[in-house]
Amino acid sequence: MSDTTSRPRPVRLRGGYLTRRGLLGGVAGVALASFPGVPSARGSSMLSYQGFAMALRVTRTVAQFPIEFPAFGEKSPALARASSARLSSAAGKLSPHRLTQVGAAAERLIADGTLGQRSDALVMALGAHAARDGESGGSLVSLIALSVAALAPDNDPNEDGFASTWLGGLARMHQQDTLGAAVTRRGIR
């Protein structure tokens, strides 16, 4: 077994680190509610509170855009299901690799400055990243898959599944220059 696998290397985040052992730093200057770090199913990985906050914002976006996320048998509306408790529960099922991917994706979005901006800016950023990443979906697809699993727990957060559809749709809207109008007209919160 290599040293890399036995001793996890930190993943560089803007203003902090996301490691399998814990958060080493934080994002300064962003006012946030206190979000818990999220233990993974493997028990040792953590998502920074900034990363978690970003993931929650993404989940709220997926819940609303471009349509309200389907109920799939649940009674509460999609926005209510985009809760920190459900996100935490879904994140707990993530493999270490996927958790790393989620953290990396959150960092990309935080680097865009979208954490403190309106949701429409986040959608635009997601569309731009998705278009750049192409079919692979990059790390973003892991983050969206986590959101989907929070909204509809039958979905495995470790599989791209519907996340590739949602992200692919956004990428196409970005490329077809229709994303801005749709976001504005949808008026997401």
């Binding site: 855009f65 471009p66 349509i67 309200e68 996320f69 389907p70 799939f72 048998g73 989907v148 509809a152 039958d154 979905n155 495995d156 599989e159 791209d160 599944g161 519907f162 590739s164 559809t165 949602w166 692919g168 749709g169 956004l170 196409r172 809207m173 077809q176 229709t178 109008a181 749709a182 007209r185 949808r186």
Partner: protein, 549 residues
């Protein structure tokens, strides 16, 4: 091999029974008298040939719609052979694009002076109140020349299909001043393409046979018009000398009037046409000189504006068929029932209307119709801006033939798609909210298309490798919501609330498939389960906007 008068008489009665019972079925195109085909081979059994748009499995049809295997007349059972044909459209073409070179001899779109038989012509245009420029008539074919002799005065007319000379169905009458009846050669659309104008009319319409548009009327047996030549005479050779002139040894059998996208061609009888015209062809004495009655199996040949020279066989006679005429002024389809029609295959395409078919040829110089996607596929591709992949037609046909037809619910789905396709086309054609909603739907359905087309191909190639996943269930639920949610909520609002409810009901089944990772075989078993089938039928029957097959 020929059908005796007695058998033909009884088959005509049998055909009448089939028509009377099924003519109102939207899947029913028409029926006639011919020989049964087995595995593509023509047998010697005379039968009623029933034409349907789609041959649906018996299980997908109610007993009311099921065509009989045979019909009894005077104690004799006559078989009914079902073939796919239709919907049928009049063979004029409003297409402004250059006709494809679908045969080595066509199209015949150049200028001809003197006029020759088989060249392209059209009405110069019909004035309308809504537009400053006249509506251009469909392009068709100059059939032949007829003549009126009164003492020393000889007048020549060109004879073609009535809807070509009139510029559309029933668009010409002596009192209709908006239609001058000016005939130009080449056809207006062909002049536009070449950039050369031949504005001077070569003939002026004298008479066009009216079409009775009363639904189900059997009064229409011909579709013809005559126009007096402005030039001295017409040349009775055919364009490019593609076939010999009409004569007693090369008699005229039919006039091309309609065809479908599947290669089926329909002709009015030439003897009946000339009897109504009341004038003989040039060089003949009596009106029926130089004509022959159609016989099943007879070889026929023609020269037409779009497909040039072709030869095929008479596959049925005494056909009753509904032909859809395009009215370019009203921009509407006018269905007209025609009777006593000849059915042939791979003989004509749009733009050949008016061409005269003569007895002769090898019977197998065919024209294949330009490939056209099915209207439903076309509507979906258009609305969602999907790739217009012609192979998708083959793919959907394979899904239908290899997957859906194998189960009860699969056959139900086939019937549902057919019975409700016009509803889908209409809804997609109407506004479904602001443009941004459609743009959003386009992006997501394009994504679904890109994601699932390979899945479907894989399913057909190797069914045992297929497993239903949670991602598929979630994609289904999301697509359903995009269709069902209102435009104000970002959706398309294409489904009614009841239809959306049906989709949600089905979601529970879909979720079960995903949770248990159903294989292809397990899914097929479920779809073939009578209990599931009954539940689906009951659920669908409760929705007034969906027509059950």
């Amino acid at each position: 091999m020929s059908i005796t008068p007695q058998v033909r008489h009884e088959l005509t009665q049998a055909r009448g029974q089939v028509w009377a019972k099924h003519s109102k079925d939207p899947n029913f195109t028409g029926c006639g008298i011919g020989y049964r085909r087995r595995d593509g081979v023509v047998t010697d059994e005379p039968v009623v040939i029933a034409m349907v748009v789609d041959k649906l499995p018996a299980g997908a049809l109610s007993s009311r719609r099921l065509l009989p295997a045979s019909v009894r007349v005077n104690g004799t059972d006559y078989g009914v052979d079902v073939v796919e044909a239709g919907p049928v459209y009049a063979n004029g073409t409003l297409d402004r694009a250059a006709p494809q070179s679908v045969t080595s001899s066509g199209p015949v779109t150049g200028p001809y002076r003197p006029l020759v038989q088989g060249c392209g012509i059209s009405n110069s245009g019909v004035a309308t109140s809504s537009s400053s420029s006249p509506t251009i008539g469909p392009a068709g074919t100059l059939g032949c020349f007829v003549t009126s002799v009164s003492g020393a005065v000889v007048i020549e007319f060109l004879l073609s299909a009535g809807h070509i000379l009139a510029g559309g169905p029933n668009l010409w009458s002596p009192s209709n001043l908006s239609n001058t009846g000016n005939i130009v050669q080449p056809a207006v659309s062909d002049q536009v393409l070449t950039g050369t104008t031949y504005q001077d009319p070569v003939a002026e319409v004298t008479y066009v046979s009216p079409l009775d548009t009363t639904p189900g009327s059997l009064a229409n047996t011909v579709d013809w018009g005559v126009a007096q030549l402005n030039t001295d005479y017409g040349d009775t050779t055919f364009a490019k000398d593609l076939m010999p002139p009409i004569s007693d040894g090369h008699p005229a059998v039919g006039m091309c009037v309609g065809s479908d996208a599947g290669g089926n061609s329909y002709l009015a009888r030439m003897d009946a046409t000339l009897q109504q015209v009341g004038l003989p062809m040039v060089g003949m004495f009596d009106v029926t000189d130089g004509t022959a009655a159609p016989q099943v199996g007879m070889h026929i040949e023609k020269v037409g504006r779009s497909s040039g020279y072709t030869s095929s066989t008479v596959d049925a006679t005494d056909v009753i068929v509904t032909i859809n005429y395009v009215d370019p002024v009203a921009n509407a389809l006018v269905p007209v029932t025609m009777s006593g029609i000849i059915w042939s295959q791979y003989f004509t395409i749009a733009g050949d209307s008016g061409a005269v078919a003569c007895q002769g040829g090898d019977g197998q110089t065919y024209v294949l119709p330009p490939r056209a996607p099915c209207p439903l596929t076309q509507a979906v591709q258009g609305y969602y801006n999907l790739p217009s992949n012609i192979s998708d037609n083959t793919l959907t046909n394979n899904v239908q033939a290899k997957v859906l037809t194998q189960t009860l619910a699969g056959n139900l789905l086939i019937g549902l798609v057919y019975m409700n396709q016009q509803t889908v086309i209409s809804r997609l054609g109407n506004s479904t909210g602001p443009a941004y909603n459609q743009a959003t739907a386009q992006a997501f359905f394009q994504q679904l298309y890109a994601k699932y087309r390979p899945v479907v191909v894989g399913l057909l190639t190797n069914p045992s490798s297929f497993t239903f996943t949670q991602a598929m269930a979630t994609d289904y639920g999301y697509a359903l919501n995009m269709l069902g949610q209102t435009p104000a909520n970002g959706g398309q609002g294409i489904l009614t609330s009841q239809e959306y409810g049906l989709g949600v009901w089905l979601m529970f089944t879909v979720a079960g498939l995903a949770q248990n990772n159903y294989t292809y075989q397990q899914i097929q078993a479920l779809l073939d389960n009578p209990l599931f089938y009954d539940q689906a039928c009951s659920a669908i029957a409760s929705i007034p906007t969906i027509t059950l097959p």
